[in-house]
């Protein structure tokens, strides 16, 4: 168990981090960049897949991102969709620039509890970010887990993040099921929505399997329906939620869902613990 933010003396004061690499994942109006960051003057903090950080650009503010890489890999990666005040500024930054990081925050995926089980990740769009940390972790601890299946889709092939990494996993023989919403020239994978890919193509066996899903709200809703049809119980399904956040430490109030703070009690929720909440 990692005590969240244990290494932060004042939980509002970020660690200093340097951007050491920037990868343009998606271009255009919904541009996505993955930033690789390294803490300045100290070791990286311990974390688990699903933990988040508030990335801070002084003068603009802070935004929450789930850490996109597994703790088994070096540095800290964040995939950022250019959409608001902070993310627009982040997209203007260059390698060598300094940002602030507050973390690790939140309650992560219980990856240790999942040992010995099959893992299926079901992601859509930028929602693949927390799932990437999970599948990297499972790949790097291969002997501890059963079969790994990655299901991922986006509107078009140009909107897929981590495309090269996924293609390489396919080459290495991993079970990767990709999809795009509409037919494109040269697309060799499934055409249609992620839940349909899951229902008609992947058809995962619920026996001894944990399903983790993250993506747009409608995709999550339909995915949960398909998983239920396939025989998954609510306690076999995990998801991560998004809410507007500020403090990141369960104080400021805005990410609350009933009495739970998404920033502190989430963003990872087991589905049965979510479905009982009034506001979910």
């Amino acid at each position: 168990m990692i005590d969240i933010g244990a290494e932060m003396e004042n939980p509002y004061v970020p660690f200093k981090a340097e951007i050491i690499d920037i990868r343009q994942e998606v271009k255009g109006v919904r541009a996505i960049k993955t930033f690789r960051m390294r803490l300045v003057g100290r070791e990286r903090f311990d974390y688990k897949p699903g933990h988040g950080c508030l990335v801070s650009v002084f003068g603009r503010g802070e935004s929450w991102f789930t850490i996109a890489n597994s703790p088994t890999r070096p540095d800290l990666e964040f995939s950022v969709l250019k959409t608001g005040k902070v993310t627009t500024k982040l997209h203007e930054l260059e390698v060598g620039d300094i940002v602030g990081l507050r973390g690790p925050l939140g309650t992560p995926f219980p990856v240790d509890e999942w040992k010995g089980k099959n893992i299926i990740t079901i992601g859509g769009g930028i929602g693949q970010t927390p799932l990437r940390s999970v599948y990297q972790y499972v790949i790097d601890n291969y002997d501890d887990y059963g079969e790994l299946t990655i299901v991922y889709g986006a509107r078009t092939s140009r909107d897929l993040v981590y495309k090269d990494e996924l293609m390489q996993l396919i080459d290495e023989g991993y079970n990767v099921y990709l999809s795009v919403d509409m037919q494109e020239e040269g697309w060799e994978h499934f055409v249609g929505y992620v839940p349909d890919n899951l229902r008609f193509n992947v058809k995962p066996d619920p026996d001894n399997t944990i399903a983790i899903t993250c993506g747009p709200p409608i995709m999550i809703t339909l995915t949960l329906r398909v998983l239920k049809e396939l025989g998954f119980k609510e306690d076999q399904v995990y998801t991560t939620l998004e809410r507007r956040m500020k403090c990141g430490i369960g104080k400021c109030g805005r990410c609350r869902l009933d009495g739970k703070y998404v920033c502190r009690d989430g963003p990872v929720f087991r589905y049965d613990r979510l479905s009982s909440l009034l506001e979910s």
Binding site: P11, K16, F58, G59, G61, I98, R243, G253, R254
Partner: protein, 339 residues
């Protein structure tokens, strides 16, 4: 806890005299003063400014522990200064409901992650309360299990017996201060008078709220009742602004190249509060936001902290421009479901 409370008598106006003493000792003294038609808490430098002839102050003293705007970090290219405020303060003349509210803020800011900014202020603040011998039209503390003579959250509580003050010393901090004064033992008659004043104050509180409604709230989350009661609401946020227990805040950076990261009171009654950058808003409608205020105070905080986040001060009733009344809404819900 009650056994630990020590009672004594002070001949004179204790709140005035303690203000003088604490000012001499270099404390910042925050006390009620008269301002126009209202009474408000202000930092004073002269104890003569204190005015005690009030039912309650316009705003609670919340802002002296959790300011409406509070600098957290001063930055240039990187952090220049962390703006903790550890000055010694005394809040004197605070009413029991507002002192109780501070214990609820403690639940938020001192449990789990300690909020260093709140903690720095709280640790260095002495709280000297002022018991209510008279209650107002909007008061309803007694139906929340509190008393107009409640001592929770205070270091010392002062009850005005007319010609003298009855002091209840609750904490070691309070003890230290009492050591600076000449006090007398409480006589039986003083005890009786104090008791009588409390009884009268409780009896004069005619407004009531039914707050213990966990199951009713759980079962009526999707009731049309919430649309109905929100109809008049204009979403101004006055209720949350004046509420001594509301603690939500925003965090903002002021200054692009150099400036201050600060926090500012925010309100769940505003649509921007939950609006996400994707344009998705989990509480899009006014009635959802109004409902949230009630669920938060009477259900969510009960579930997560074991406490109702209302102290019955009545400010959200007296100052609502649209006549939304927290007691009517809660009592009306019970009526609605029983019909």
């Amino acid at each position: 806890m009650d056994n630990k409370i020590k009672a004594m008598i002070y001949d004179g106006n204790f709140l005035r005299d303690v203000a003088e003493k604490l000012l001499e000792k270099g404390y910042r003294v925050i006390a009620p003063i008269k301002s126009g038609n209202y009474f408000i808490f202000r930092e004073i430098d002269n104890p003569e400014r204190i005015s005690l002839n009030f039912i309650n102050t316009k705003k609670s003293a919340k802002e002296f522990l959790f300011p409406q705007n509070e600098g957290l970090i001063r930055y240039r290219e990187w952090i220049e200064e962390i703006l903790l405020d550890s000055k010694k303060r005394a809040i004197i003349g605070i009413r029991p409901c507002d002192a109780k509210a501070i214990t609820l803020l403690d639940e938020v800011f001192l449990k789990g992650f300690k909020d260093p900014y709140y903690e720095a202020r709280r640790k260095n603040t002495i709280i000297i309360g002022y018991a209510c011998n008279e209650t107002g039209d909007y008061c309803f503390c007694s139906s929340l299990g509190l008393s107009p003579h409640e001592t929770e959250g205070m270091d010392i509580l002062v009850t005005n017996l007319g010609d003298r003050n009855y002091l209840e010393v609750i904490t070691d901090k309070g003890d230290e201060i009492i050591g600076l004064f000449d006090v007398k033992e409480v006589t039986d008659e003083d005890g009786k008078r104090k008791h009588e004043l409390e009884r009268k104050a409780v009896e004069s509180t005619t407004r009531k709220i039914v707050s213990d409604m966990k199951d009713v709230l759980v079962n009526n989350f999707n009731s049309d009742y919430w649309r109905k009661v929100a109809f008049n609401c204009i979403g101004c946020g006055t209720c949350t602004f004046l509420c001594p227990t509301c603690f939500c805040f925003d965090m903002l950076d002021e200054g692009e190249k150099e400036g201050i990261r600060y926090r500012a009171w925010d309100s769940c009654q505003f649509p921007l509060y939950t609006l996400e950058s994707s344009s998705h808003n989990p509480r899009r409608e006014k009635w959802q936001r109004l409902r949230n205020r009630f669920y938060d105070k009477f259900l969510y905080t009960v579930e997560s902290k074991g406490k109702v986040f209302c102290v019955g001060c009545g400010r959200c009733i007296s100052d609502c421009p649209a006549g939304v009344d927290i007691t009517e809404v809660m009592n009306g819900l019970l009526k609605e479901v029983s019909e």
